[in-house]
Amino acid sequence: MARVKLISRFFEIQDSHLLPIYEASGGYASARRVVTENWPADKIISTVKASNLRGLGGAGFPTGMKWSFVPKDHPGPRYLVVNADESEPGTFKDRQILLNAPHLLLEGAIIAALSFGAEDAYIYVRGEYYEPVRIMEAALEDAEHAGYIGRNIFGSGRTLRFHLHRGAGAYICGEETALLSSLEGFKGWPKLKPPFPAVKGLFGKPTIINNVETLSYVPIVIEKGPEYFAGLGIERNGGARLFGVSGHVKRPGVYELPLGTPMKELIYEHCGGLHQDRKLKAVIPGGSSCPVLTPEEAETVNLDFDSLAKIGSMLGSGGLIVMDDRTDLVRVLHRICKFYSYESCGQCTPCREGTGWITRIMTRIVEGHGTSQDLDDLVDIAQMIMGNTICPLGDAAAMPVISFLTKFRAEFEKAVKPSKKSLMSEPVGA
């Protein structure tokens, strides 16, 4: 399928982060229309529902449905939170939007806020995104000056204040309830659901948390109509999304494609195939937590939520990591385990302890001291973490372990043979 240029067209326009340039290409028309035509909340929600837009942060939850969960008669404030805490290894699409189309995000956020009556919106950007934060700050200032956000938006008498919040380096804060804890001034500790944030969220008030990319598609859905957007994708998997490809391909980058596009097409056509025309060994399909795919799986699966789920993996954040035949998968898994162990927030015992055990065993293996018992222990520990934690970080840590060891067992067996040597002196793959 051909690439589409809905969000990504702004990546090609010079200075598209500036308000006049954004407006010259039709920017803020959707928000203006929704506000000045006084769309009732139901109309906004039914439009987004009809587009089949799903949450693009990783979970894939239908966006319109999420907005409809805010209780209509709830007295007092309600909040919109923009999740710009993009930190899942292999994921870099939101950064592109923050840098190139901050007003598209704001426009989507305005429409989202109107769908459930929020008057305050928090944008939580990860602390390491210095440049995106600077650009977003300028965009907020310009949008407020133009009367699109703040008091009396588009002359409607309605209020929508935006607040920019910088995270401080904690992967867990990308998980929505941890993000709320962090915004409330606490450690980024996830909270049990229910109650869901739509009912009891930020400061105990109804709250909708949406990913940057999800919100950025909203003005496009309004502009082009939900049927157009839904029609780009396949059944129940609306529209397009930004796929970020990194690792061993000729042209790494962000590619906007309809959902349902074959993964093979993305890797071999859009990205030009593997670097140095090497052979494919493995693909992590949607950020490092998603179960790894074999070449056979990668070359036959389609890029949509349901197709990946069907083969036991996930589309996740749409960040693909492509690995060639020289890659040492034992060391790749070791690095992934280190990540989740380091980022475990420490709240739930299975994750706090389990990720540490797994990492210590993996360290032993890559240093050449592993045993075949270690391989069984790794899977056992991962299975004990799965499903036994408050938030999905536990599962995110367990799934790579189980999938790497199941699908690439021979490579791990080799690493724990008596004749083994330390893997640390060889490159991981380059």
Binding site: P89, G90, A170, I321, R335
Partner: protein, 157 residues
């Protein structure tokens, strides 16, 4: 240096608090402000911030220790945050760590004797299409090679 904001900074603290319905929610922003002023967050700074936000010092301490970007110890004049997560590892992050060791004589977590550079290896910086990459203070550098890294380090004042 006494642990005390001047009037202008105190006014900024008030503005930061106004963004939230609860005072303590401003803690992250105030910690960044303090870090800019005092260099890093010492126990004295924690006690001072606690007094500004009506919180126990222990509460401030648990927040400071949870997030990596609040510095509990001083770093060199320049902080190198080099990503060695999967995509960067696949594209040669280890060569960059080796080059820094060779050139500056420091490994991850260490600071040069002249206090010019501190090296951290960090988790994914969200720019994997430009792997391997790093942040030098607030500036991002991608598609690095050892040679390009040399130039970036040489240009740092």
């Amino acid at each position: 240096m006494p642990v005390q904001f001047d009037d202008e900074k105190l006014e900024q603290v008030q503005h930061l608090i106004e963004h939230y319905p609860q005072k303590k929610a401003a803690i992250g922003d105030v910690l960044y402000l303090a870090q800019k002023q005092f260099g890093h967050i010492t126990p004295e700074v924690e006690i001072y911030i606690a007094s500004l936000l009506d919180l126990p010092a222990s509460y401030v301490h648990q927040v400071v220790t949870f997030y990596v970007m609040y510095l509990q110890k001083p770093v060199g004049r320049h902080l190198i945050m080099l990503c060695d997560n999967v995509s960067c590892l696949l594209c040669g992050a280890e060569d960059l760590v080796a080059r820094i060791r060779e050139k500056l004589g420091i490994g991850p977590g260490e600071t040069t004797p002249d206090n010019k550079f501190t090296l951290w290896t960090v988790e994914c910086l969200g720019a994997c299409e430009m792997a391997p990459n790093l942040l030098l203070d607030e500036k991002f550098h991608g598609n690095l090679t050892p040679e390009k890294l040399d130039r970036i380090l040489d240009e740092a004042e």
